[in-house]
């Protein structure tokens, strides 16, 4: 019980620190929150353009595709608010060598870097995305059944695990390739493809987005679950995939930590 209490206390302190920082720069954060909402609106444009000519794309109607986009935006809000800030924190730590101080603390380093920073104002973004989802279901003229909703929620958990695991993999690479700015940019660019239902992609890309960088598991499958279109086999695949990724990420992280040689001073 003691470790659990220790980590709960740590999480509380880390969140308080992020909040204190956020309050210091509240103007920036409000501005960024507003900008994020603006970008959310912008991301809808390609979808509107494509669907202005056609009724359905790869078997997805406009409101259905909107569910994917809404889901994608929810995830992106979580990514921007809870994951990317910590990523930047670690990358800077590796570059400046201040990650040393994290490694000298008697707590799991992965936990510490993962909870280092949050951007609380991203909650705006998150709420905006929920609104898009709600609108999509309004257009569809129905609501997900309780069962579908629960599966969707579970897959949301899987999606978070996947996102987080991929992120840990990126961080692990940053231990070796110190200049990782491009890497996080690449990560975000690839993630952007998640706004499209997986059926839009063909061949190799489709395989990559299912297995290597499992966007399908992160956005398409949960959206399908909400729409009541996901088979249980796929749901199982998503669950297993999430756990496998988490295990791999933990393993790679452990090895990377071993290889880490702090910046020379």
């Amino acid at each position: 019980m003691r470790p659990l209490r220790h980590y709960a206390r740590l999480l509380a302190v880390q969140m308080r620190t992020s909040l204190t920082l956020a309050v210091q720069y509240r103007f920036d954060f409000f501005l960024e929150g507003a900008l994020a909402l603006f970008w959310l609106a912008i991301t809808l444009i390609p979808l509107l353009v494509v669907y202005s000519r056609r009724e359905s794309v790869a078997g997805w109607s406009f409101p259905e595709a909107l569910v994917v986009v809404g889901w994608f935006s929810v995830l992106k809000a979580v990514l921007d608010g809870g994951v990317t800030p910590s990523l930047n924190f670690v990358v800077e730590g590796v570059r400046k060598g201040t990650l040393d101080f994290i490694l000298l603390k008697p707590a799991d380093a992965q936990f510490l870097v993962s909870t280092a920073r949050f951007e609380p104002w991203r909650i705006l973004d998150f709420l905006g995305s929920i609104a898009v989802l709600a609108y999509a279901f309004h257009r569809l003229g129905r609501v997900p059944s309780v069962g579908d909703f629960m599966v969707g929620l579970a897959l949301f958990g899987v999606a978070l695990i996947l996102l987080y695991s991929l992120w840990i993999l990126v961080v692990s690479v940053s231990f070796r390739v110190v200049k990782v700015d491009n890497l996080s940019y690449l990560f975000i660019s690839i993630f952007d493809a998640g706004r499209w239902p997986i059926d839009v992609f063909k061949g190799a890309l489709r395989l990559i987005f299912t297995v290597v960088f499992p966007l399908a598991l992160m956005t398409t499958y949960p959206a399908q679950a909400l729409l009541g279109k996901l088979t249980s086999a796929h749901a199982l695949l998503a669950g297993t995939g999430g756990l496998a990724f988490a295990a791999i990420a933990r393993l790679v992280w452990k090895r990377a930590l071993r290889a880490y040689t702090s910046a020379s001073s």
Partner: protein, 331 residues
């Protein structure tokens, strides 16, 4: 407390050649260069001891401290600190040590030091009352009470270092690794940081291992020094003994009431500094009494003092001598 045996650390550095074409080629065929940062370094440090690591830039001091604190794996050789192998980074081990680096800070830049203290208290899972008492004690000792509520970025370098020390000592470590803790500080701030470290050592019985390239800094704090040069341990012992061995001489500084005749001065010893009414002579230690007596009787002395030659100079001579005879070891 600390035991290092035949410690070696070799960094493998990827060489990036200049020019785009060469850089592209190097992506395919990576060329590695080996930097031998530590070569067969062995030493023991007892509990409560204060030991200084001396050596020029790039000697391997930081590397040694990083290995001792578990941040780096040694390429070969073995280390134990207490009963622990640092690289395993066990919880008990991390509770026992601390590392302070003059060139890196753990204080959160945009927040007051008090926030970092709170963070460290949570990280080390310190009971509240105990942590309050320790923090208060350290803050009082360093006289930084009014500072810990100000954002770190508004503090001066010296103030920041004091706060770094508090952050690093809240968990009352038994072994202190201090990497250039006085770098960039002015002389009086250096002295205060040194004083604080000595008091912490004396009151808690913690071992202190400190690196610096300021000789005086180390001499004032550490009865024992370990000199490293190009990764080799070249001396382990008392600094004054080393100084006496390298330069068994004293400096006699004289002030005159009138300009002395030049011949009189030269007969007394080797003149290393000279102005109109002042002169400094280098005299073999054994002949100091005689030289002072002669000076007093022959020269128009208004003031006279006898000192050791500056440590920086001695160390330079020592290092030059070592590289002249191929880095041969002696201790």
């Amino acid at each position: 407390m600390i035991r290092a045996r035949k410690l070696c650390k070799t960094y493998r550095v990827h060489r990036r050649p200049p020019g785009l074409l060469a850089a592209l080629r190097s992506v395919i065929r990576r060329r590695y260069e080996e930097v031998r940062a530590l070569v067969d370094v062995s030493f023991d440090i007892a509990p409560g001891e204060r030991v200084g690591f001396l050596g020029p830039n790039g000697a391997g001091k930081t590397t040694a401290l990083k290995i001792l604190s578990g941040l780096l794996y040694p390429t070969s050789g073995s280390v134990t600190v207490g009963d622990f192998v640092p690289q395993e980074r066990r919880t008990e081990f991390l509770h026992m040590i601390t590392l302070v680096m003059g060139q890196k800070q753990q204080l959160l830049w945009d927040l007051p030091p008090a926030e970092t203290f709170a963070m460290n208290r949570a990280l080390f899972d310190l009971p509240r009352r105990e942590a309050d008492a320790t923090q208060q004690e350290l803050v009082d000792l360093l006289e930084i009470g009014p500072l810990i509520g100000k954002p770190t970025r508004q503090l001066s370098l010296g103030e920041r270092m004091k706060c770094e020390l508090v952050a690093a000592l809240l968990h009352r470590p038994k072994v202190l690794f201090l990497d250039e803790p006085t770098i960039g500080l002015d002389v009086s701030m250096q002295a205060r940081v040194r004083d604080f470290i000595r008091r912490y050592n004396e009151s808690t019985g913690a071992s202190v291992l400190l690196t610096s390239h300021y000789m005086e800094d180390v001499a004032a704090l550490c009865p024992r020094v370990i000199v490293i040069d190009k990764g080799h341990l070249i001396y382990d012992g008392d600094l004054r003994t080393l100084a006496r061995r390298i330069r068994p001489e004293k400096r006699i500084t004289m002030h005159f009431s009138s300009v002395p005749a030049p011949g009189d001065l030269d007969r007394l010893g080797n003149c290393v500094a000279r102005s109109e009414l002042q002169a400094t002579l280098a005299v073999p230690a054994a002949q100091v009494t005689e030289a002072v007596r002669a000076a007093l009787s022959r020269l128009p002395i208004s003031d006279i003092s006898v000192e050791d030659p500056p440590l920086e100079e001695i160390m330079q001579e020592f290092l030059d001598g070592q590289s002249a005879n191929g880095g041969a070891r002696s201790a």
